[in-house]
């Protein structure tokens, strides 16, 4: 799938920057370097996670490889008070806002459900594995923000596959009706597991919102500056009470769906090769170097920082997991434990004591 003629692109494949009249970038040099730095961190941490999974330290991993610009660019547009609702692949979003990568990996280590970070502190809601089902949460949360006149925005990350679900469409409708300040950010990586987007969407996805009365815009999802500028504008609109926007970032999932996947079964190597050439990081490096924002040694320093980050991620994951406290199974089901659950807990404790006594 190729970009729509109307798509926004600030940074072309060869690293040339062009202003867009409707989507001003408005970033300082330091900000731009910051975006590059995050791309590198995300790429490196993601590679580390893939390796960690191969080595058995993670149960599963859903790689970000290729989608860094979409995640970093959009998340960089978040401001304090905003809230993002990820699906399951938005590792780069969490890293961009500064969540400790180890906290995002604990789910994949099988240690906890949902997520290991503070939602309030980070502004990033927990993972949502049932596809599309976070969209109504985003709309409702946005309704709350609007009622409280918080002038904050919500961003709902949705895969291309999520546009098959009823929930996403009901949410588009509700967001328009209640002017919920949501940016629906479609990370179109062209596959929903094995299903190519051509098989799930008759038209480019940004157009899906038209009939609901929401503006839709497509952006080059491998252009971190474009993703930033388009999301920032949609978020400004949302914060100003002007309503929701659908943003489609067209990118590509270079890696497998997850580490359990075998993409060779359903897609051609040359397609992947084509998209490797459109790597979001290469063009950004060409740009920051070419524009003289950084020197090669600055880049080396960033690579070095990424190594440090990866080492820390590895250390956190290969460390013995915190001792399992099976009793916590019984906690946080309800505010007060019901009689049947308390009975199960007691029986379980008694049983464990007995087993220990006899062994």
């Amino acid at each position: 799938m190729e970009l729509d003629p109307s798509a926004v692109q600030l940074l072309s494949e060869d690293g040339t920057f062009t202003e867009h009249p409707d989507y001003p970038l408005g970033l300082s040099d330091a900000d731009i370097i910051g975006l590059y730095r995050r791309l590198i961190l995300v790429r490196r941490a993601d590679v580390e996670a893939i390796n960690l999974q191969r080595q058995g330290y993670l149960k599963l991993w859903g790689p970000v490889f290729g989608q860094e610009a979409a995640q970093v660019g959009s998340a960089a547009a978040l401001q304090p008070g905003d809230r993002a609702f990820p699906q399951g692949r938005q590792f780069g979003v969490g890293l961009t806002v500064g969540i400790d990568p180890a906290e995002m990996l604990s789910v994949w280590r099988g240690e906890i459900q949902g997520g290991g970070w503070s939602v309030e502190a980070s502004g990033i809601a927990l993972y949502t594995f049932p596809i599309g089902s976070q969209a109504p949460h985003a709309v409702g949360y946005g309704m709350a923000l609007r009622r409280d006149q918080k002038n904050a925005a919500v961003i709902a990350y949705l895969g291309d596959g999520a546009f098959g679900t009823g929930d996403v469409h009901e949410s588009l409708l509700w967001s328009a009706l209640y002017k919920s300040p949501v940016v629906f950010f479609c990370e179109n990586n062209q596959y929903a597991l094995s299903n190519p987007v051509e098989r799930s969407a008759p038209l480019p996805l940004y157009r899906r919102s038209e009939g609901f009365g929401l503006p839709g815009v497509q952006v080059d999802g491998n252009d971190v500056l474009g993703c930033y500028a388009v999301t920032a504008r949609a978020a400004r609109r949302a914060r100003a009470g002007e309503g929701p926007t659908l943003v489609e970032a067209l990118t590509y999932r270079i890696g497998p769906h997850t580490t359990s996947d075998d993409p060779d079964r359903y897609r051609k190597a040359d397609e992947v090769a084509t998209w490797r050439l459109r790597d979001p990081i290469i063009r950004m490096r060409d740009f920051v170097l070419g524009a003289g924002l950084v020197t090669r040694s600055d880049l080396d320093a960033i690579d070095q920082e990424a190594e440090v980050c990866a080492t820390a991620v590895r250390a956190a994951c290969v460390a013995d997991p915190p001792p399992v406290q099976p009793e916590q199974i019984f906690d946080h089901v309800y505010g007060t434990r019901p009689q049947h659950l308390e009975a199960e807990r007691r029986a379980w404790l008694a049983f464990n004591e007995e087993t220990q006594a006899t062994s």
Binding site: P136, H137, V333, P338
Partner: protein, 326 residues
């Protein structure tokens, strides 16, 4: 005299007055006041900002309530009829019920889903279901169902004040039942059941719309000198097991009555509890009386389909006569 509808309406109104974070949402809950008028007058009183008349999107109705709860609100959602909660099943089961657990206590879910339920109103297809068995097994979700107007008032206020999500089944056949009562809140730690009528020979367990039937059966047997204890389970999850077990241990006999079909119904859980915890005390097999295990039939057949007094009396008789040679 208070009807169920006015009691529930008062509970909503009083809850909204007590807490500005309480919102109402649902189809036709605005100017119409809901098809059963439970939200009558509330939009006039509290405005469109707090009474949201929504499109027909039950999944997002619950999903948006989840989001509003994350934003600090306490949404009370109305489903128009029992079976129309089904499109929200995924949002309820995946999300609403689990947030406290998956966030390890970070995020509570103070959402109430009101569902008029049950039959006996001559309605068309899909308007008479008793779907409690689809929700009771879900950990993290509470399931309440009142049997009288005053109980409805107290229980709905409690549900709205609860930080856990509650699915609140309202016996729609009894919406216009009248009671001479005062509407008052109970102790927050009200148990989940009450002995609606004491007795010593058999425990008759009902909830929601079947409690009145159980009480009528109790009267009937009282005239024959048989003493029946009626237990009204107004919370199905969490279940007041101790009271149930205590009663059946005393009487040695149990009959459960619900409007849902017997096969796979909540009666199975109740019998299993009793068979496990009162085994030695049981004088007869615990019995279940419910609707036939078929889809809800046309109105012309619903009286045969639903458990009526006659079938309950028969089951009680069977239990009382068990082991007695005549």
């Amino acid at each position: 005299m208070t009807t169920f509808v006015t009691a529930l309406n008062a509970a909503l109104s009083d809850s909204m007055k007590a807490d500005p974070r309480v919102l109402l949402m649902g189809e036709d809950v605005g100017d119409l006041g809901g098809v059963f008028r439970v939200t009558d007058g509330l939009i006039a009183q509290f405005g469109e900002d707090r009474v949201l008349n929504t499109p027909i999107s039950e999944s997002t109705l619950v999903g948006a309530a989840v989001g509003l709860a994350m934003g600090g609100y306490r949404p009370v959602v109305e489903m128009q009829f029992d079976s129309f909660v089904y499109p929200a099943f995924a949002q309820i089961t995946w999300h609403l019920s689990r947030f406290r657990y998956r966030s390890r206590g970070q995020q509570t879910m103070p959402v109430v889903i009101r569902v008029p339920y049950g039959g006996n109103i001559g309605a068309a297809e899909h308007h008479s279901d008793s779907p409690e068995a689809y929700f009771i097994p879900t950990p993290g979700l509470k399931v309440f169902t009142p049997s009288t107007p005053s109980q409805g008032y107290a229980l709905l206020r409690e549900a709205i004040e609860d930080d856990d999500p509650v699915i609140f089944f309202e016996p729609k056949h009894d919406y216009w039942v009248k009671e001479e009562c005062e509407l008052a809140q109970r102790e927050p730690d009200a148990p989940g059941a009450r002995i609606a009528g004491q007795g010593s020979d058999l425990t008759l367990v009902g909830y929601g719309p079947t409690v009145k039937l159980c009480l009528a059966v109790r009267e009937y047997f009282a005239q024959e000198g048989v003493s029946i204890e009626v237990l009204d389970l107004f919370k199905l999850n969490p279940l007041e097991i101790n009271m149930l077990v205590g009663s059946v241990t005393r009487t040695g006999r149990m009959v459960v009555v619900h409007e849902a079909p017997v096969f796979g119904g909540f009666g199975g859980e109740l019998v299993a509890r009793v068979a496990g915890d009162c085994f030695a005390a049981l004088k007869a097999p615990p019995l279940r009386v419910g609707a036939m295990s078929t889809p809800y039939p046309a109105a012309a057949l619903e009286h045969e389909y639903l458990p009526g007094m006659d079938r309950i009396v028969d089951a009680v008789d069977t239990s009382l006569r068990y082991g007695v040679t005549t």
